[in-house]
Assembly symmetry: C2
Homo-oligomer: 334 residues x 2
């Protein structure tokens, strides 16, 4: 049975949402270790009717708070739910770790305790974005604010291998997020990366502009963590803005109110289909273990989905596939 | 009377849309010079019922085609509508130049022929984005793919001064597009820029994340041209995607179809309110003359709006204000 640990204290709605999501996943047959303050977690579980088979609580007395210094703090706080949860993976007691807590803290602790795959200088966040035409993996979605071309080439290998192993895409199309069509366009970083991706043996389809990304022209869109993070957050913001504006505009007339009422189910479907929370967590790729980042605002539904998608990745042998791909490719360091 | 030159051959819908937009603006009292192939432009004008007072055609036999090499080409093609149009500003025969053609080509020619304001190393594109809470100027929206901190500080001064002079914002709030809240977050570029903006004398409100940008927390959002261009194009793509998906979802049931029909006027209003084309062109800031970039897909309505907003900027004395601000600030070179 697949064993997934989850940071019980991580995320805006923890521990209520993490406990509820963990119970849901455990009921479906995932062996879940809920890590955090034992008393609070047990209380939540009792409130929800008790623990099903396959759910256990692993005590961790300390919590990493959200905030900009979390990553630095995390290294010292060995009794935190983050540290203890990652430790379960390190010690072979869990196959994967999921956290909706501070991304930087999870990243740093995982890097320290699980190490990197061969050929990987910088592990990265792969964010699976469910565009209507298909899933696009954006890598790096925010782990590395500054990157060299060698890092981006490694992201491409990691992303490509992930989409093949975990998502069954036979020959993932790799695109480079850039601001023009030709290889000679962009920053020195993208120009060098373009050149190296052309010789990488990957199915590199060239530059992808911001507009084209939403059309799922590539299965893997490679970018530095700064741009990737801006893109992800802007996307979230724009989506909410637009939905809110539509609601406001509709409410200004009886006609709009009625129309809004009738169209609501369709609008909800669209919103849900574009909601990457529903599609599971973002894997940290390039680590020596399976770690997933869930959205900070995850509710029980999103947590359960994150646990499901972590378990599915484990069952498909994603980590071994990534390791094999990186050993075979050994994407050039500088 | 304000005299605005426009590249008659620039943009996907030129020369039909440029001629029609020019006629509309001229009818409102702007003195318009429509630059390009005389025969084709005169034909278009005849087709539309003839030229009103205040519209003249300035012949330029050559055209810069769209494409990645346009900027390089543009320098040599002195008979192009781009070159001739910029030349009118250089020679004092027009107060501003507008183009919906190749941005890179317009930028290079304008830089060459009009030079830079004092204290400006790199002129930049300021894109006015009409968020529901208010207008946000994104600078640089794509002219400089690689930037140093000194450039970003200059963008901040240019953007701030523009929002004051052209848009009447008394004390523009300047934000730095970044991936965290604290100054210590982000790339080496944003960290250094954050430090320098804090001491710039501008009303610097700190980092702005992708999510916050859409809330109009800042009047001016400073970023490098790579990130700015990705943001702008992604925004366009996402908006179209979402509207299209809503339409598709609505069409799947009678209820949705009826709702869609009723809500259509509201949806159109939202779409129009977020359409920066309706809000005029993007100024190239930091040049020794007034040059504006209109969207490549501009129709006659958008062209007329671009001409109106260029004329309005001229009438408000924006260029002199920018020059004064840059002379006073002399934002530190490295």
């Amino acid at each position: 049975m697949t064993r997934v640990a989850i940071d019980g204290m991580g995320g805006d709605l923890a521990p209520a949402a993490t406990a509820e999501g963990a119970i849901e996943a455990a009921r479906e047959g995932i062996e879940v270790a809920l890590v955090g303050d034992e008393r609070r977690l047990v209380d939540e579980i009792e409130r929800l009717g008790g623990a099903p088979d396959g759910l256990r609580v692993v005590h961790a007395p300390d919590v990493i708070e959200m905030g900009d210094h979390a990553a630095r703090e995390a290294i010292r706080r060995k009794q935190s739910s983050t540290y203890v949860g990652v430790g379960l993976v390190r010690d072979g007691e869990a196959d994967a770790f999921v956290s909706a807590g501070n991304t930087g803290a999870t990243f740093v602790v995982a890097l320290l305790e699980l190490g990197r795959l061969p050929g990987v200088e910088r592990p990265a966040i792969g964010a699976p974005i469910p565009f209507p035409n298909g899933l696009t993996l954006l890598i790096d979605a925010g782990a590395n604010a500054e990157c060299r071309a060698s890092h981006l080439v490694q992201f491409a290998h990691l992303g490509s291998s992930y989409m093949r192993a975990a998502r069954g895409v036979a020959e993932p199309r790799v695109g480079l997020l850039n601001i023009g069509e030709e290889g000679s366009k962009g920053s020195p970083l993208t120009i060098e990366t373009h050149e190296r991706l052309s010789e990488s043996g990957l199915h590199f389809i060239g530059n992808i502009e911001g507009r084209e990304m939403v059309e799922n022209r590539a299965d893997v869109v490679v970018t530095d963590g700064f741009t990737g993070n801006v893109v992800l957050k802007l996307g979230e913001g724009l989506m909410e803005l637009l939905m809110g504006e539509l609601r406001n505009a509709a409410e200004r007339s009886w006609r709009g109110r009625l129309g809004g009422l009738l169209i609501r189910p369709a609008a909800r479907r669209v919103r849900a289909s574009l909601d990457y929370r529903a599609h599971g967590a973002a894997p940290l790729l390039g680590l020596g273990g399976c770690v997933f980042i869930a959205h900070g605002t995850s509710d029980a539904f999103a947590i359960a989905n994150a646990l499901r998608s972590a378990a599915a990745d484990v069952e498909r042998g994603t980590l071994a596939a990534l390791r094999g791909a990186m050993e075979a490719a050994r994407p050039g360091e500088e």
